[in-house]
């Protein structure tokens, strides 16, 4: 009889371990913490009368975001465009190239090692050179985004295509499957979860790449807006641009994650 309440509490502990429940709790917890931090920020700025050009209060940032909404939206669209075009370009080039590398021992021994070595070069450091070569339009920003996305995608795709378990390859060979059959039925689906790991890394780099490209020299985009508004001491507006950049990054990441759930439902979730 006395063990009954104990058993009931054990059951509740068990239930709290269910994944859906724990995800909800994590989201709820993070939201509450964020709101609390914002309130503390607002309070401290008012209490110590920090000047707005140094550190604006959240309410002031919100105000200026409303005031400058059309500019903010316009510049966001430019950055979003550069990010998405560069990212798409990286997908379109690096995935076929990864396939070629996996299937050609010549490429594997010539181009691929060079690509891996280039990976450790800080791509954003090329941004000034790109400005020198192709000017200050959107193209050099797209190229920077392309470069930062290219490497994580090609490496993830190449390793994914090579990740077929040896016994499965034996099975396929015992059936005398053609290269095309092996690729379509085995290799590519095996690589899919790996490719999405690469895509998720790439999309977060992509936004950073676009902003760095804009820092180096441009007349539009959120990076440009941050640069200009900081130099004119419009710090609340710079913060507003920062908020939008963060939101853009998060939305793009979860957009990729959503596509992954639809296309690769068998991928391990974290």
């Amino acid at each position: 009889m006395t063990t009954e309440p104990h058993a009931a509490s054990l059951l509740q502990d068990d239930e709290s371990l269910e994944p859906a429940d724990s995800t909800l709790k994590a989201i709820l917890g993070a939201t509450i913490t964020l709101i609390a931090l914002t309130i503390v920020w607002e309070f401290l700025v008012r209490q110590f009368q920090v000047p707005a050009w140094l550190l604006p209060s959240p309410s002031l940032i919100g105000q200026s975001m409303v005031e400058w909404r059309s500019e903010l939206i316009g510049h966001s669209m430019v950055t979003l465009y550069e990010t998405l075009v560069g990212f798409a370009l990286a997908i379109a080039i690096s995935i076929p190239l990864a396939v070629a590398v996996v299937y050609s021992s010549l490429l594997q021994n010539t181009i691929y090692p060079i690509l891996l070595a280039l990976q450790s070069m800080p791509k954003v450091a090329i941004a000034p050179l790109l400005a020198l070569w192709i000017g200050f339009g959107t193209l050099p920003k797209i190229v920077v985004v392309f470069l930062v996305c290219f490497f994580p995608i090609i490496v993830a795709t190449a390793s994914g295509l090579a990740a077929v378990p040896a016994p499965l390859m034996d099975l396929i060979r015992s059936l005398s499957a053609s290269s095309l059959q092996t690729f379509v039925k085995i290799r590519f689906p095996t690589a899919m979860p790996h490719i999405f790991v690469g895509l998720k890394i790439a999309i977060t780099f992509a936004v950073i790449g676009a902003v760095i490209g804009e820092f180096v020299g441009s007349e539009s985009g959120l990076g440009y807006l941050i640069l200009v508004s900081t130099s004119q001491s419009r710090t609340p507006l710079a913060f507003g641009a920062l908020v939008l950049l963060t939101i853009m990054s998060i939305v793009l990441y979860y957009g990729i994650a959503l596509i992954e759930r639809i296309l690769v439902p068998w991928a391990p979730r974290n």
Partner: protein, 257 residues
């Protein structure tokens, strides 16, 4: 005519320590519909021999005849089961079983019917729409057995298929395999490092020893079929087990002295 005839088969590998002899002077004939187990410690070349029979690797020297003709490339007359089920995670049980028929371009409707029959035969009826991650290890291995049988090969190669399973599931699947083999006779070559399993399943046990991998002794198992778990405790079974243990641990010359 023998289903598989092996004579003077050698296999050497290049390794960082020079050439390693995986198999030396292996000769063995396997009759149609015979159940042969290859048993021995790791490194005795039993898996190498299985891969050679599947034409997944080429011998360095020697003769390997399949239905009387030299085996030069993989034949569709072979089905393979590995230690890991290696199912495709993105396919249902049914679609996993159907994979070989898609590659071989077999008739879709007939294949589907045969797949459903096989799935029912191994006791997975009702699970055909499930995905591999929803199945236990034993159930996954049953699916991989169906996949090996779907194109109706006359030879079934099994590379330690139950080694990753717990002891009870292992026993259960062993008896199930014999039941299937009884109704639909095939030549089965079954690799294991478990001597009891080797005797319980086989018509003939091929005991192998390592460094270099060679056949130490071939033991005919004269036990009635269907086999039962009680046979393990008979004097006859123990004597087979003793013979095999002796050659595996003390080499082929041991029992003669």
């Amino acid at each position: 005519m023998n289903k598989i005839h092996i004579e003077g088969l050698h296999k050497t590998y290049a390794s960082s320590h020079g050439r390693v002899t995986a198999l030396k002077e292996v000769s063995l004939s396997i009759k149609q519909n015979e159940f042969v187990t290859l048993v021995g410690p790791s490194g005795c070349g039993k898996s190498t021999l299985l891969k050679l029979i599947g034409a997944l690797i080429r011998p360095s020297r020697g003769t390997l005849l399949f239905d009387g003709t030299p085996l030069l490339r993989p034949t569709r007359d072979v089905g393979i089961v590995f230690q890991d089920a290696v199912l495709l995670e993105w396919r249902t049980v049914l679609d996993n079983v159907l994979l070989p028929t898609e590659i071989l371009g077999l008739d879709k409707v007939k294949s589907r019917n045969r797949a459903m029959d096989l799935i029912n035969l191994v006791g997975l009826g009702g699970f055909e729409k499930r995905f591999p991650r929803e199945l236990s290890g034993g159930m996954q291995q049953r699916v991989s057995l169906c996949r090996a049988l779907i194109h109706n090969p006359s030879v079934l190669l099994m590379d330690e298929p139950f080694a990753a399973l717990d002891a009870m599931t292992r026993e259960e699947l062993g008896f199930e395999l014999m039941r299937i083999w009884d109704t639909d006779k095939k030549t089965v070559i079954f690799v294991t490092h478990n001597i009891t399993e080797a005797i319980l399943l086989a018509d003939r046990v091929v005991a192998m020893t390592p460094r270099p991998g060679r056949i130490a002794r071939v033991v005919d198992i004269d036990l009635a079929r269907p086999r039962t778990i009680d046979m393990e405790f008979t004097q006859k079974f123990k004597s087979y087990s003793g013979q095999i243990r002796e050659v595996i641990y003390h080499g082929p010359g041991a029992s003669r002295s």
